[in-house]
């Protein structure tokens, strides 16, 4: 009897959580942030769901150490919990989150004074039909880019930031941000042509 009751209660709680999540899951980042600041745990869950993967991906490329990238990602979200921004620019938390993530990665890099080489173990190729790239190519390309170029490319891809947001974050002119991206793309194209 007790088990049935417990099961029933757990199902109710789960249902309640799910319905709460459903209520705000389509909300804008600004609304999520408002809920988050008011102490709604579901808002935190949804923010994690939206940004966790891309922040870890970005930091993995920055630090070349997946475990360290996870630690820095955790630290990024801890910062969000402790010092949440009062408002977001352009209704998106992305610039704020990636700015914190990048600063943490940069500080960490300065402290560590070394980088761990990107794991070169054979990896299953996940070639998408209709594309010339596969995962190893992509990672290799990023690893061979200079820090300046890689910064722009990773912020653009993982952070999905606009070029003016990238420029603002890296404290460089908009034209420079755009030039770095084009230059990186040119390198990629060149590598692909040589491979073919």
């Amino acid at each position: 009897m007790t088990n049935v009751w417990q099961h029933h209660m757990a199902a109710m709680i789960l249902e309640n959580d799910t319905s709460k999540t459903r209520e705000i899951e389509d909300s804008s980042d600004a609304e999520l942030l408002r809920q988050f600041r008011a102490g709604n745990k579901e808002a935190l869950r949804l923010i994690l769901r939206r940004y966790e993967s891309s922040v870890i991906g970005y930091l993995t490329n920055y630090t070349k150490d997946p475990d360290h990238a996870r630690d820095l990602t955790q630290e990024t979200f801890l910062r969000l919990i402790k010092y949440p921004p009062k408002a977001v620019k352009g209704d998106s938390l992305r610039p704020w989150i990636f700015s914190v993530a990048r600063n943490l990665a940069h500080d960490s890099w300065r402290k560590r004074k070394h980088t761990v080489e990107l794991e070169q173990a054979p990896e299953a190729c996940s070639e998408n039909p209709g594309t010339r790239l596969h995962r190893l190519d992509a990672k290799h390309l990023l690893a061979t880019l200079s820090d300046d170029l890689r910064d722009v490319v990773t912020l653009r891809i993982y952070g999905e930031l606009k070029f003016n947001e990238i420029a603002e974050q890296l404290n460089i002119p908009l034209g420079t941000a755009l030039w770095r991206m084009r230059h990186a793309m040119e390198k990629l194209k060149h590598q692909l042509e040589n491979r073919d």
Binding site: S53, H134, R135, I157, R182, M185
Partner: protein, 147 residues
């Protein structure tokens, strides 16, 4: 700004993005747990912080209100206000005692009334009128007694 990349560059960017973002990264469960705990703590501690501010604030305001309200008693809640009337009413019955006793009661009523008037300046105009009429009545009674 995005259209400042050539179509070919945009395609390459898209391909690169598709590949890199196809990986689904997740925090470890314990890292996630740390975040939820920090979140819960933050909001609990915020509540405690406000509780320590709001609690004394409410108590202070209540105390202040009590003091202010106590300083402005209404005639109905001020028992001494009734006394002079009682005294005056008491001395009006037909079976009056000796003149000296009546005089003493009148004096007592008058002095109580004067004390009341000087003790509190917050009486309404109606109260003041009542006091005046009482005083006049006492004076009249005294004069009557003397004559």
């Amino acid at each position: 700004m995005d259209d400042q990349l050539t179509p070919e560059e945009q395609t390459l960017e898209k391909e690169l993005s598709q590949i890199l973002k196809s990986e689904n990264h997740r925090l470890d469960p314990n890292q996630r747990e740390v975040l939820y705990e920090a979140f819960a703590q933050k909001h609990t501690s915020m509540w405690q912080y406000w509780r320590w501010i709001i609690g004394p604030l409410v108590a202070g305001v209540a105390l202040l209100l009590a003091i202010v309200l106590n300083q402005q008693p209404t005639p109905d809640t001020f028992p001494e206000f009734v006394d002079p009337i009682g005294v005056v009413v008491e001395i009006t019955p037909i079976e009056w005692p000796t003149e000296a006793a009546i005089d003493a009661r009148l004096q007592s009523a008058e002095s109580q009334l004067n004390r009341l008037i000087h003790r509190n300046s917050n009486y309404s105009n109606q109260d003041r009128t009542d006091f005046k009429s009482l005083k006049l009545r006492i004076s009249a009674l005294k004069q009557e007694l003397e004559s």
